[in-house]
Subunit: 72 residues, 7 copies
Amino acid sequence: MPKPLEVLHKSLNNRVIVELKGNRGYRGVLNGYDVPHMNLVLKNADEIINGEVATKRETAIVRGDNIIYISP
Amino acid sequence: MPKPLEVLHKSLNNRVIVELKGNRGYRGVLNGYDVPHMNLVLKNADEIINGEVATKRETAIVRGDNIIYISP
Amino acid sequence: MPKPLEVLHKSLNNRVIVELKGNRGYRGVLNGYDVPHMNLVLKNADEIINGEVATKRETAIVRGDNIIYISP
Amino acid sequence: MPKPLEVLHKSLNNRVIVELKGNRGYRGVLNGYDVPHMNLVLKNADEIINGEVATKRETAIVRGDNIIYISP
Amino acid sequence: MPKPLEVLHKSLNNRVIVELKGNRGYRGVLNGYDVPHMNLVLKNADEIINGEVATKRETAIVRGDNIIYISP
Amino acid sequence: MPKPLEVLHKSLNNRVIVELKGNRGYRGVLNGYDVPHMNLVLKNADEIINGEVATKRETAIVRGDNIIYISP
Amino acid sequence: MPKPLEVLHKSLNNRVIVELKGNRGYRGVLNGYDVPHMNLVLKNADEIINGEVATKRETAIVRGDNIIYISP
């Protein structure tokens, strides 16, 4: 059985979609994460608010407790 | 008495309905989970927002603390 | 003094009403639970949204942290 | 100094008012509780929603984390 | 440096104002508390909702996690 | 690197601005705090609601989990 | 793999964007932080509310649990 953190680990250096609470999200390259908080480091990240690209960030540290799901 | 995590374990590789907070949900194949967070790995997942299929994801890591219920 | 988990245990295999946050609830047979999270396994469960039966689920794993009360 | 749980303990078998988040409450006989969660067992409980008796429950297990206050 | 719990302790048997989340509050005599939850026992407590005295309670056990501030 | 609690400690006996969740805040003299909760004791505190001074409190014990930021 | 806290550490003494819950944010120089809470010390911080600079703070201690993301 693949564990969630193993699936996350395999997504390193690939683009992921990160859906956050409050109708926010990110699309970016997963550069790192920590355990057990599931905080993420994203690179070249588009911040999506209400379905539109709001801003672009070279790097973003996303706190895990805001995450709804991560899609590799 | 079947424990919740045993019932979840038996659902591996079967389609499940996952209801999340905020009128969101997923229908997909349960590919993995972890303990005790109940984070899930779903495959071929339809994301449901307000009752409609909003997007399809090949893989989604869903954080357990957003889950209301899982129906095998 | 009956402890809450003892009262829950005595309700096994009986129909219970489970009131969740967000105007949701379940009526179903309590098939299992875990400690200390109070996650539940319900069978033959009617999901109630805003007072009406919205869906029927053969099995549902309900996360304990969404529960307001359980009535045997 | 009377500790909150001592005051709760003295209320066993007496009617209490339990105010919950979300404009809900209960009036019923305190039949049991646990520590440290402060989950309650109420008997002959009137559920109050927005100030009106909505339902009557012979028994209700109320999760402590929804409680605002308990008044013996 | 006076610690918050020391200031609370000195307020025993004095009237305090307790502001809760959700535009609620209490004015009453601090009869007891526990550590670390900061659950309170209030006596002769006026419950204030939206700035008006809604009810009077001889005794109220207030859960600490609803408290915004306590003013001796 | 100055740690947040060191910066807080240096603010003792100085006026601070404390922004709370729910459009509330305080301006007062930081008289004490605890670790790790970051509960505060404020003296001569103006309570600010929606940008206006709502009340003045000689002493207020503010629970740390409501705090967004503290500005010395 | 760069861990989130390593990326944060490398941002010390640089300007960062801190997005908070509730449509708030900060732009300021990261002066310090703690582990594991991710509380921050910001210097010369502009507080942004609904996209506009609301106030300027020489120093702000921001509680980590309000943070959505930090962008160096």
